[in-house]
């Protein structure tokens, strides 16, 4: 059974590659969804069977060496997420105008699956770039929009950067199959270079700060079922590549300081992403920024795992990695759900700007309920999957001081505080997202006329909400599927046994019992309902909102005075003043004309991501300068060309002479 899983998955992925050619787009989507569902079930069966590692060399690929595919617990864990989300996204796409995305969509899923199934450097880079190119085409779906073109171009640049880093990283590891690389783990400067290259190459795809700048615009611009996959699954594929390199291919003995870049990147990204999620007005930008936050949290778990492994604290390493894997699964599911819901809102309420939404709970009850389930995960409220993941990550960082060294311990406590800040910011963003977008009064006539999406979208939303609930209520059971991954990465050193209903930091310690908490909540709610039933005055009367006596709106304002309702910007104002001023350089200017002047008063606010201002803008300027320089070199006069060539020749010869002497 298990020996059959790898070839079957590989051929399913290959069929997905061909599905882009399907003539009928609707049938193509149905086939994509069906294939993803079958592959997801196959992966689940493989994981349940204990996930024995297997490899499959193929004669195609690089001349002479071909390609090798393989599967083990780690890749199967991520494959499960990719296929499951892929199936849900395909079903949801049936509901929307997806004609333009049809050819590249199965290609995109196949690229992700190939990356995860790769067992040598070439196959991995091939899959990774296939995924990047296919998603670039998908981001470019609305090519008539200049902002979409800019987002897609930035995205393509980052994809090229990814390949430019991953290829030398594999070269430093010696190239060839993963097994060969494992046999000769790098050390010294070589290992440090691999770490840097992987964090830039794969980390940028995973949305690690400070290379996350491309992520919000790209994820917001792509069609929603694609954004769901990009945010839910593709970032996790980037994370998988980071884990594969740092915990597997680089061997078991890496120094403690390896953890520091991951902890710093994670804490910085978590706070920045969560804060930006509170500032953005576009529904999908909010979600994309919170993806940056969640990937930051996962990077922290990975950092703890690396530090613990360097000091032979296997239980702690397992805890950190468990947190990362569990949160990856939980976040992938609820973020996919939220993006699909955002797509439903965009299609059926006409906009995704929070400033023009509101009151959708009355018009789109199913979508709103699903979005509530997703937002509860985003806000890490117990007993959701998001809480289970963050709980484990918090346990990991709280136990991290056991690694030792005062410097590292100080880092851990600062990281823990920043994690808490990010978690609270994410909760604020989730409350803002639901409260402004779905509750209250409509802010535009179009939002007031919103309709519920079609049956495919609704079933995808409900299905994803169900999976989020399962991960939330039974995190221990779900994590049993991650055991093969832990065993593969932290071999034979006694992984903490977990009971199926319990998450515990140590085998014998009390931990988080999701079912128990849910039961407690249910009991309390049931008791309240029972106590309130049979009171003298059941039911309720309705009247216009009290609003401190503000009075009912005039008849020509059917949804009340828009200015008297809190909006997306006003909700974020306290955070903008207290935190964003320092972290996002948020500035606000108010141009208030003097009395008697008929000029309108103008209020404007600006903010900038520090990574954009500090890294991307200077990079763009350097690129401009370099291309200008090349331009000038191209059109030199013949005399100057000769001078340049002659001086280069002299320099070259001088260098050769010096090198030969030593």
């Amino acid at each position: 059974m298990t020996g059959f899983a790898l070839p079957a998955l590989a051929s399913l992925s290959a069929v997905l590659l061909l599905l882009g050619l399907a003539p009928d787009r609707r049938a193509g989507l149905i086939a994509t969804g069906g294939l993803c569902g079958a592959a997801g079930l196959l992966t689940l069966a493989y994981l349940l069977a204990g996930a024995p590692a297997a490899t499959l060399p193929l004669p195609v690929g690089l001349p002479g060496s071909g390609m090798t595919f393989g599967i083990d617990g780690l890749s199967a864990w991520f494959l499960l997420l990719v296929f499951w989300l892929g199936a849900a996204a395909s079903v949801a796409a049936l509901d929307q105008d997806s004609g333009k995305t049809a050819p590249a969509f199965p290609l995109f899923i196949a690229g992700m699956a190939l990356t995860l199934l790769a067992a040598d450097g070439f196959a991995l880079v091939f899959g990774f770039e296939l995924m990047s190119v296919a998603s670039f085409v998908l981001v470019l779906t609305q090519a008539e929009d200049a902002a979409a073109r800019a987002a897609a171009l930035l995205y393509l640049g980052m994809a090229v950067l990814g390949a430019a880093c991953l290829v030398p990283a594999f070269a430093l590891l010696g190239g060839g199959s993963f097994a060969a690389m494992r046999a000769h783990p790098p050390d010294g400067w070589r290992a440090a270079a691999v770490l840097a290259l992987v964090l830039i190459g794969a980390g940028s795809k995973a949305g690690f700060a400070p290379l996350h700048v491309w992520l919000p615009p790209a994820h917001a611009t792509a069609p929603s079922h694609v954004s769901a996959l990009m945010s839910g699954a593709m970032t996790k594929v980037g994370l998988y590549v980071v884990i594969r390199f740092l915990l597997d291919l680089c061997g078991p003995a890496q120094p403690l300081w390896w953890a520091i870049p991951l902890l710093a990147v994670g804490a910085g990204g978590a706070v920045l992403g969560a804060l930006r999620a509170n500032m953005e007005v576009d529904l999908k930008l909010v979600l994309a920024c919170s993806t940056v936050e969640n990937l930051g949290l996962m990077a922290i778990g990975l950092g703890v795992a690396l530090a613990a492994r360097a000091t032979d604290l296997t239980a702690l390493a397992a805890l950190g990695l468990t947190g990362t894997l569990l949160h990856a699964m939980a976040h992938g599911t609820f973020k996919g759900l939220l993006f699909l819901g955002a797509g439903a809102v965009q299609h059926h309420a006409g906009t995704r700007s929070l400033a023009r939404l509101g009151g959708l709970i009355h018009r789109m009850p199913v979508t709103t309920a699903a979005m509530l389930a997703g937002a509860a995960g985003l806000a890490a409220l117990p007993p959701t999957g998001g809480f289970a993941g963050e709980w484990t990550l918090f346990q990991a960082i709280i136990a991290a001081p056991h690694v030792g060294g005062l410097g590292f311990q100080l880092v851990t406590c600062v990281v823990a505080a920043l994690m808490a800040l990010a978690a609270a910011l994410a909760a604020a963003a989730a409350i803002r997202l639901i409260g402004i977008g779905f509750l209250g009064r409509p802010r535009s006539p179009r939002a007031a006329a919103a309709t519920e999406p079609g049956a495919p979208m609704r079933s995808a939303l409900i299905g994803l909400a169900g999976v989020t609930g399962i991960i939330g209520l039974f995190p221990g059971t779900v994590l049993a599927l991650a055991d093969p991954a832990l065993r593969a990465l932290l071999p034979g050193r006694g992984i903490a046994a977990r009971s199926l209903l319990l998450l515990a930091p140590q085998p014998d310690a009390p931990g988080y019992v999701a079912v128990g908490i849910a039961a407690l909540l249910g009991l309390a709610a049931g008791a309240i309902i029972l106590a309130m039933r049979g009171r003298v005055m059941a039911g309720h009367a309705t009247s216009p909102a009290w609003d401190c006596g503000f009075g009912a709106p005039p008849p020509w304002l059917p949804f009340g005075d828009p200015a008297t309702q809190y909006g997306a910007a006003s909700f974020a104002q306290p955070l903008r003043r207290t935190l964003a001023g320092a972290l996002l350089a948020a500035r606000q200017t108010l141009d208030m004309p003097p009395p008697g002047d008929t000029r309108p008063a103008l209020y404007s606010e600006t903010d900038a991501d520090p990574a954009d201002a500090g890294l991307f803008q200077p990079g763009a300027r350097m690129r401009e300068a370099a291309s200008g320089f090349v331009d000038r070199m191209q059109f030199l006069t013949i005399r100057r060309t000769l001078v340049v060539m002659f001086s280069v020749l002299v320099l070259f010869l001088a260098a050769v002479a010096v090198l030969q002497q030593t």
Binding site: G358, I361, H362, L372, A379, L381, P382, F387, W391, Q395, I398, P401, L406, Q409, C413, A416, A417, L418, A420, L421, A423, A424, A428, I431, I434, G435, L439, G440, R441, P505, A509, P510, Y512, V513, I517, L520, L521, A524, A525, I528, I529, R535, M537, H540, A541, T542, A545, W546, D547, C548, F550, T564, Y566, S570, F571, Q573, P574, L575, R577, T578
Partner: protein, 319 residues
């Protein structure tokens, strides 16, 4: 037998927390009134208020959704679940295995998020103001809370509240600077979480300064009763938590000797009333601060938490 006793203690704990919550609010209110030179309402007034509210038929805004009606139940259920995790008079209750500190923080967030969402459901300005400010305060409170938990985890090795309190009661940890810092940080957090002066004024009638009250403006009848009882329960929960950490003596064991429970209950009552009076004195002696000063107030709590952790690292050479 032990299991049954523990279950009995748990039920008794639930009854005590629910029953005493309005009393604590009433005591704080009347002590404050006395300190301000007023006669003030009797301490039992909150019970009468609740009874009156439950009897009345609620009036709900026309465009309120199902979420508006469900939120008080959800918020109160979360608060009650949280209250079940904080031991009052006895440790080792049936819920001891669930009583993780981070879960406790999560349940408090759940309660807060339900009310904040309901506040925005009707689409009034005051609801939005309250929700926005409350979530902002939470953003600054959370890091301090985690650092407090971090300190306990370093000292005891777990974030389970029952285990932490057992270790404190047995005195194996001794007197520590870190614990003192943590208690002060917890008190600042309690003031902010419960919307007391100087962060928020529970007795305010000026809409623009309201935070917690603003979120409940549209509620009436039994819904308002649930929200008020939830607020009282939250105050009692925080006071119980601080009392148990500051003065850990006298806590009984749920699994044996019910005769010792009485001592535990009396000591818990004394601690709770004492802290309630301290709160009233503190509230009476300080002015409410501007909304944008609150982050500084909570920033002090974060710094105290950081100091507590760093002290532990340095003093223990913790590894």
């Amino acid at each position: 037998m032990t299991i049954l006793l523990a279950l009995l203690a748990t039920i008794l704990h639930a009854a005590l927390m629910l029953g005493a919550a309005p009393l604590l609010s009433g005591i704080v209110r009347s002590v404050k009134a006395r300190l301000l030179g007023r006669v003030g309402p009797p301490p039992l007034q909150p019970y009468r208020d609740l009874r009156r509210l439950i009897r009345k038929q609620p009036v709900i805004a026309e465009n309120a959704s199902w979420l508006f009606r469900a939120a008080p139940t959800a918020s109160f259920a979360a608060m009650l679940a949280a209250a079940m995790l904080v031991p009052s008079f006895a440790r080792g209750m049936t819920t001891a295995g669930l009583a993780d500190l981070i879960v406790l923080a999560g349940l408090l967030t759940l309660a807060r998020a339900s009310v904040a969402l309901a506040a925005m459901d009707v689409g009034t300005a005051f609801g939005g103001i309250g929700a926005s400010r409350d979530t902002t305060f939470a953003v600054f409170a959370e890091p301090a809370l985690i650092l407090v938990f971090f300190t306990f985890a370093l000292l005891v090795g777990t974030t389970n509240l029952d285990a932490v309190l057992s270790a404190l009661r047995d005195g194996t940890l001794g007197l520590r600077v870190s614990l003192a810092l943590v208690v002060i940080a917890l008190m600042a957090l309690a003031v902010a979480e419960n919307g007391r002066i100087p962060v928020d004024n529970p007795a305010t009638h000026l809409e623009l300064t309201m935070v917690h009250e603003a979120m409940a403006l549209e509620y009436s009848g039994r819904y308002l009763a649930l929200i008020e009882l939830g607020a009282a329960l939250r105050l009692l929960l925080w006071v119980t938590l601080i009392g148990a950490i500051m003065l850990p003596f006298g806590m009984a064991d749920a699994g044996r000797a019910p005769s010792l429970w009485l001592v535990g209950v009396v000591l818990w009552a004394v601690k709770t009333v004492m802290l309630g009076i301290v709160l009233a004195v503190f509230e009476s002696s300080i002015a409410k601060m501007r909304v944008f000063r609150v982050p500084e107030f909570l920033g002090v709590a974060v710094l105290l938490g950081l100091l507590a952790v760093v002290f532990l690292f340095i003093s223990q050479g913790f590894a």
